[in-house]
């Protein structure tokens, strides 16, 4: 790729193309996808309509809607697509010093967990677009998770052939894939529908700091004499003393829900190099 030419077949270059004037935070690589549900997009939504005839929950193997002819699949669970599992087993210890075994609960009696669509359906997308593939469903409604049968046929399960829909739009000229997600896979509003409402609530609600690039936690960190570290909680109203205030959701030293709803722009600081951006320090000095 040069500045004024791109190989039309190079979809990766098109996907990552940074238009003139656009900072890096406009690129899809600035948006998290280890999302539960996410901050910029709930990208799990792009998989809901991969199988023609049914609509899946954005992050579960539960069928939420179906086209005419497939209505009976609504409420069922999908377990495999073209032989690829979309669920996996849960295993671990329940007592100190004990061994590990399947982790079951009354609402998850088979001890299974969903696998992310983007990984579990990656082979299906790569190998079967435009073709019908066998999909294994429960044979009836299944509000709770269900494990795979030991063998087939099994009266509790049904195999249905469904076509795999392309995830990306196609060139009207050549029919080749483009680098843009097809409109029929996600319409306006579909990529953000699963996000928190309002998003400010998520910044306070989820006291889990997996999203450091967008929502940092531990900032202004410095070494201590003991060789460990100390620093501020990103939500700390005051940066001195430089101690980490453990998030209790109601600690008055930290920004509250109401603070965020009313003035997130004034409360939250940009972090550069792990520290408050210089413009915030200037503002502090002016306030003194």
């Amino acid at each position: 790729m040069s500045d004024d030419h791109i190989d039309p077949m190079n979809l990766t270059a098109q996907l990552h193309y940074r238009a003139a004037g656009n900072p890096p935070s406009t690129l899809p690589e600035s948006a998290i996808s280890n999302a539960f549900p996410g901050l910029e997009f709930d990208i799990r939504n792009i998989w809901r309509r991969l199988l023609v005839g049914i609509e899946l929950h954005e992050s579960d193997n539960y069928v939420v809607a179906a086209d005419p002819g497939h209505e009976r699949l609504v409420g069922r669970r999908l377990l495999t697509v073209a032989g690829h599992d979309v669920i996996g087993g849960l295993v671990g210890p329940t007592r100190p010093g004990a061994g590990s075994w399947p982790l079951t609960t009354p609402t998850n009696p088979d001890g299974v967990t969903m696998l992310e669509w983007s990984n579990s359906l990656a082979d299906v997308l790569a190998e079967h677009v435009g073709r019908s593939v066998p999909c294994l469903f429960t044979s009836g409604p299944a509000p709770n998770p269900v494990g795979k049968p030991a063998a087939l046929p099994d009266p509790g399960f049904e195999v249905v052939e469904l076509e795999v829909r392309p995830l990306f739009a196609r060139s009207a000229e050549t029919g080749d894939p483009l680098a843009v997600i097809a409109e029929e896979m996600a319409g306006p509003g579909d990529l953000t529908r699963g996000l928190c409402s309002p998003w400010q609530n998520d910044y306070r609600e989820c006291a889990c700091y997996y999203w450091a690039a967008s929502r940092p936690d531990y900032v202004n960190v410095e070494d201590t004499a003991a060789g460990t570290s100390t620093g501020n909680h990103w939500f700390a109203k005051d940066r001195e003393p430089r101690v980490y205030v453990l998030d209790g959701r109601d600690d008055s030293r930290l920004v509250s829900y109401d603070d965020l709803f009313q003035d997130w722009q004034g409360r939250l600081r940009f972090i550069v190099g792990g520290n408050d951006a210089p413009e915030h320090l200037e503002a502090e000095q002016e306030d003194r």
């Binding site: 406009t26 999302a35 007592r95 453990l246």
Partner: protein, 463 residues
């Protein structure tokens, strides 16, 4: 080589970021230091377009002296991406659509037509009521005015709409001849729901009341436990405790959105169309950091498949491996790893929403820290990442391939399974984060490079 055969909108997915400042965020670059690859990326101001408010034309390009993410008066500068139109010409090359290319095809900028459609369907996703969908549509336009994206919703109060930003077709000029649209997202405000007999019910948390709580159910909505259609996680909306452990919505909404930017052009009697996607999310508050697994990684895998291919070189694999390590370092740098490990901190056990808590709550797994509590101070974890990088670069890190979590191992909550990398973080399936399979395959390729060197005469051939 001048005939326009087809159009593309690039980038295919552009992220806007909310902010109420008048001036959008300036352009910048985030550069890595080859001598210190795990050091923070260096942010440098970059050429920034200045757009005339009246004409909609780019009047100049400036590189600011310093980067400022706010306006200095308590407002965040919105990130407002440009989307360019590119043309596939009859020599099978993609090139920018410019004044010259339009003219060579007997066209003018006024022949280019745009339409932007965005939605905020957060409420509808929870209430299942289609009358709760908020949608904005500019309809087709070819002028250079700012077109407001006013979100309409059947359940809004009479005459109200949700401002979702605006879109503007920038006027091409001889100095800046490209055909491009700019999406400027909204201010990032919180809006409320009111009953028609109390339309201005005091609430200092909201800037305005838009939703009619008499028509729709969003204010007072509570996710019904056990409903398999609920969002995962459920109850992710502003609310208050209700009866029987329920979480009752306050009826708040925001001005995030996502949608499509369509472009249309009639060339020699043929109507050519294309579209790109936009979204508006929160600011990137650590703009020199990149998440470990990104939306681009998802789309890369969807385009290229889950495994490294013959088209991937060892050099690329090494670059991916280093980038994964760099991103992991950036996350660790900004994360209190002691808390996330499930350590007892300041005398508090189970102090935050960690994978430790999540595993116990979801599955009944024994509550215990993931790593030995003494090993997870941020300084120690950063040093560990530095050591891994050194091993990767020297070709002595084949073991690293074995500590990466595979996508189908997310349910392995054994002590060893939970220590796999990336550790302490949650993925989209709610269990510990796994990278995309393509990322993992490329990292493994790089980590095992020494083995390939012994086994093959051509170390640059991956498989």
């Amino acid at each position: 080589m001048t005939s326009i055969e087809e159009l593309r909108v690039l980038p295919p997915l552009a992220v806007g970021r909310l902010g109420a400042a008048v001036e959008p965020m300036d352009n910048y670059t985030a550069e890595t230091d080859p001598d210190q690859p795990l050091a923070p990326r260096r942010l440098r101001p970059a050429p920034t377009f200045r757009v005339d408010r009246t004409s909609g034309a780019i009047t100049g390009v400036e590189t600011p002296g310093e980067l400022r993410f706010t306006d200095g008066q308590g407002k965040v500068r919105p990130v407002a991406p440009f989307l360019e139109v590119w043309a596939l010409t009859d020599d099978h090359v993609l090139r920018p659509l410019t004044l010259d290319l339009l003219r060579l095809n007997g066209l003018t900028p006024g022949d280019v037509r745009w339409r932007v459609r965005v939605g905020n369907h957060k409420i509808q996703r929870r209430t299942y009521d289609d009358r709760d969908r908020i949608d904005a549509d500019t309809e087709w336009f070819s002028d250079h005015a700012a077109h407001a994206l006013n979100g309409l919703c059947p359940n809004f109060l009479e005459g109200r709409s949700l401002p979702l930003g605006h879109a503007r077709y920038l006027q091409p000029t001889p100095g800046f001849p490209g055909v491009r649209l700019r999406f400027t997202p909204a201010g990032g405000h919180v809006y409320g729901s009111a009953y028609t007999d109390r339309p201005t019910d005091p609430d200092p948390n909201v800037v305005d009341f838009l939703y009619d709580a008499t028509k729709g159910t969003w204010r007072g909505h509570a996710d019904q436990a056990g409903d398999p259609r609920l969002t995962i996680p459920a109850q992710i909306y502003a609310g208050d405790d209700g009866p029987n452990g329920s979480w009752v919505s306050r009826g708040y909404l925001d001005d995030e959105c996502d949608g499509l930017v369509h472009v249309k052009l009639e060339v020699s009697g043929r109507e050519l169309t294309a579209f790109g996607r936009i979204g508006a999310g929160p600011p990137a508050y650590a703009p020199d950091s990149v998440p470990i697994r990104t939306v681009a990684d998802e789309l890369d895998q969807a385009l290229s498949g889950p495994r490294a291919t013959a088209g991937d070189t060892l050099e690329q694999a090494r670059a991916v491996a280093e980038e994964v390590l760099r991103r992991a370092t950036e996350t660790v740098r900004l994360m209190n790893t002691e808390v996330m490990n499930g350590n007892t901190v300041d005398g508090r056990v189970d102090a935050a929403s960690t994978m430790v808590r999540q595993d116990t709550a979801d599955t009944g797994r024994l509550f215990e820290p993931i790593m030995a509590p003494s090993l997870v101070d941020t300084a120690a974890v950063l040093a560990l990442h530095q050591n891994v990088l050194a091993a990767l670069r020297s070709g002595t890190a084949p073991w690293f391939a074995d500590v990466l979590r595979d996508h189908d191992e997310v349910g392995d909550l054994t002590a060893k399974g939970r220590r796999k990398m990336p550790a302490l973080m949650r993925g989209a399936d709610g269990r510990s984060l796994a990278l995309t399979r393509r990322q993992v395959d490329l990292v493994r390729l790089a980590a095992r490079q020494a083995i390939f060197r012994q086994d093959t005469d051509d170390p640059e051939v991956p498989r």
